[in-house]
Amino acid sequence: MDDDRDVRHTYKGRIFGKSVLEATFRSFYGTDLFLGELLAAEDLERARRFLFRVIQVTYGSDSSDPGWAERTAGAFMSGDAAGAPYELHDPEQRLYKVATCQPLGYIDAAGGFRKPKSLPAQFARVTSPTADDFAFLRERMGDLGIGVLRSGEDTIDLEVGIRGDTLTSHVGVFATTGMGKSNLMKVLAGQILASRGRYAILTFDPHGEYLEGGSGLRRGLREHPWAAERLRVYATRASGAGATALRLSLAELTQGDLQTAYQWSHAQEDAIYRAIRAFGDEWIVEIGEALDAADLAEQLGVATSTMQVLQRRAQRILDMPCVSRDPSQPSLAGRIVDELMDGYSVLVDTSGLSSMEEILVASVITRRVLDAYGQLYLEDRERFAALPPTLIALEEAQRVLSKAQRGDENVFPRVAREGRKFKVGLCAVSQQPKLIDDELLSQFNTFFVLGLADEKDRTILRGSSKQDISDLGPEIQTLMPGEAIVTNLEAPFALPAQIYLYEDYLKSVSGPSPLPPIPQDAAEGFVD
């Protein structure tokens, strides 16, 4: 009996068409088929095992009348209306399901995986895949596991992840709110943390949820077994023990940082040029502390209203607790760069800052990282070779990667374009990928696509993904929290994944080995 159930659970149906790039198979009426479900078909004629992904499921019947189903539904409704509910007898014998599948490829007789270029045998038997069917993926899954392979609503015992050295070719994490972005980011950051210096990550945490876990029972990176040894935390406000107060020097702020963080009109940009010409590096202080904006405007030959905007923004910057105007106070940006170079994970808690201020801080530090890594690339290849691939993670990345933000002074597009060469990758977290410059998006080799409701968001990702995800629109639309599609150059096809729940993941991580206990008589021996 159990065997029968197992067979029924495994056996899904028979293929009946239809092309190399799209397969259809008939399944039992009672068989539950899910979008994104992975299936296998045995082609005994050619000793190949084809792998498929379900992209659509419909009903079928053996009736030759194309209007049968509609009419039967109408008959049901008539019965309901007349108070005589009808009952479809033998549904399993009269109805069935038709699944449309995207062929993923096939495993040849030698066990090698090949892209789909031929048809599976007509009427080939379709079954659930086994972990062995995806064994070829193991070596491509990399050392930063983030979940397990998902097949519809089930999972397959195969860890899905990415190679750490691909972090520098940029990572995109895209999802609507509540679909698991933060959880995924914590798992990814946790894996980098657990790599013990092989890789490094700089995370800007605008809500403190990466560090503390957010609300309720959620846990954060602070509770990671390797946090004490390998996590460095900076906070722009008092953040309790374990965090260093972030301090940046006013002199570090470049015009590019300001242009990245704020939207400036041409008149305002012109006013900044004039102020720099007049006051040099002290221009922010001069403007921020000027008693009369009108006088200053007249002095610089700009409109008073323009000067008032500049002054408000300068004052906000001067008021930021993490910005020091005292040149004797060294910036901690250099220390952050050093820690990253040493393979530490660095988290900058920017909670409390406005969106623009957060970008300003991220821009300053990112610029320092990119410049430092770039400098080593040019001047010390040996030391550069020892640098860990470093990922810079930024929430709501569309703020700095949109077409409107394309200016040469913006450091983030620079990281996207040039960072790979310098071992610096960008991790763009966004719920609106449609706002990201598609040219920049195409620089991202790894996508983690979680549930995305907006068709425009899915469309932009289709165009930039390293695997064809054009058939996966319905699946992406119906992804549940924690379910993801992973695309990168290493995977042979877009991989459906179930992301580890960070709290579960933590249980599987073993931290640093404790020191061995001191032998009981060790001290005595010395005394003797």
């Binding site: 008959a75 019965g79 007349a82 009952e87 479809l88 007898h89 033998d90």
Partner: protein, 387 residues
């Protein structure tokens, strides 16, 4: 000297022949086609003699309105002779509610057939009779045997008929039916063979359903029906027949089932009902049970003639079981097992094409040339319809 084969002389001879004999007549030149005359009317793209559609409609309406004062069972049956005619009026037939009940275990038999080749003087027929068993809400047996293929001509038909009827009756038949369409006869005999088999396999309380009337029709001797009835009674099995194309009429031509359905729609609305037709004592003498017109589901678009044999269960109970079987939304008001039996027995259009192709192959293997096969299968209607 021989006349030149080509040239002016030859051309002029052809012209003269045509003009002189006038067989073809002069080619019409320039005259446009005539519009429809005043007596014709255009229906779609074709012309119809004016008024004919209305005349036909008027005839049908009058026919249905008040055709006669008797109920007629047309088609009779072998050995019965003329139609059965009894006094009656559709409005006088009592329509009673049917209470659906658990159908229990039900067997259903239906046949399917087709003509593989028709050489006028002979036919090659394919047929089978299928049976299904419905138990506890689902079909647990579908027995669709392989198609039987028979080549029959005049003499062969009689031999084959005698053989089949002897099997059904248990003895040589006293009389042989006329067999204008042998394929129908083979199918019906096959169905009754399966009915007898089903009754033999059924257990007490089962219901065996036949596609068609329980009166056999012109091809099935009443003795076959009686045998089935006797065996069913012996085994405590109920027997019923459901007729899709009824031969019950009011008067000579008004279809009684349709008339009762319309009356019930007006008077009762969407309910299950049955009207007993076999109220006259003459039915009791001639038939093994009662004839009803039954509407087996509230919203069923059709009513059917239902024959219920006298048996272990009263007719009301059998009708209730049939109503319990008429609740499938794909076949509302028709007993579901009969629908399944029909599907199991039928020969689809693709099936017919496959059979014909296989038969042509067999003819070729048996030495008939391709040209002869072509002639054998040709049907000039196809040429006419294609051209």
């Amino acid at each position: 000297m021989r006349p030149p084969r080509t040239g002016v002389g030859a051309r002029s001879r052809c012209s003269v022949l045509s003009e002189r004999t006038g067989i073809l007549g002069p080619m019409p030149t320039g005259a446009p086609p005539q519009p429809p005359g005043p007596l014709d009317e255009l229906v779609g793209a074709d012309r119809v003699v004016a008024g004919r559609i209305d005349q036909a409609a008027d005839y049908v309406v009058r026919l249905l309105r008040d055709p006669a004062s008797e109920i007629r069972v047309v088609g009779g049956q072998l050995e019965l002779g003329d139609d059965l005619v009894v006094p009656g009026h559709p409005d006088d037939i009592e329509l009673r509610a049917i209470e659906p009940c658990d159908p229990g275990r039900v067997w259903a038999i239906d046949g399917g057939s087709c003509v593989v080749a028709d050489g006028r003087a002979f036919q090659v027929a394919a047929f089978r009779a299928a049976r299904v068993r419905f138990d506890r809400g689902s079909t647990d047996l579908v027995d669709a045997p392989p198609l039987e293929i028979r080549a029959v001509s005049g003499a062969l038909v009689r031999d084959a008929a005698r053989e089949a009827l002897t099997d059904l009756l248990g003895h040589e038949p006293d009389a042989m039916p006329d067999l204008p369409r042998p394929v129908d006869a083979f199918r019906e005999w096959g169905e009754w063979r399966r009915v007898l088999d089903a009754i033999a396999e059924a257990v007490t309380g089962d219901l065996v359903l036949v596609d068609g009337s329980l009166h056999g029709g012109p091809l099935v001797p009443p003795a076959v029906v009686r045998r089935a009835h006797d065996e069913a009674q012996d085994r405590g099995v109920s027997l019923a027949g459901v007729v899709k194309a009824s031969t019950l009429y009011w008067g000579r031509n008004a279809p009684l089932v349709t008339l009762l359905k319309r009356r019930a729609d007006r008077e009762l609305g969407p309910v299950r009902w049955a009207g007993r037709i076999s109220n006259d004592p003459v039915f009791g003498r001639l038939y093994i049970g009662d004839i009803f017109v039954a509407h087996l589901a509230p919203t069923a678009p059709y009513a059917f003639r239902v024959d219920v044999a006298h048996g272990p269960a009263p007719a009301d109970e059998v009708l209730g079981r049939l109503a319990g079987l008429g609740s499938d939304p794909a076949f509302v008001g028709y007993p579901y097992p009969l629908a399944r039996a029909h599907q199991a027995a039928r020969v689809t259009g693709y099936g017919v094409a496959d059979l014909r192709r296989a038969f042509r192959g067999a003819l070729s293997r048996h030495g008939l040339s391709d040209d002869d096969i072509e002639v054998l299968f040709q049907d000039f209607h196809e040429v006419l319809n294609r051209s």
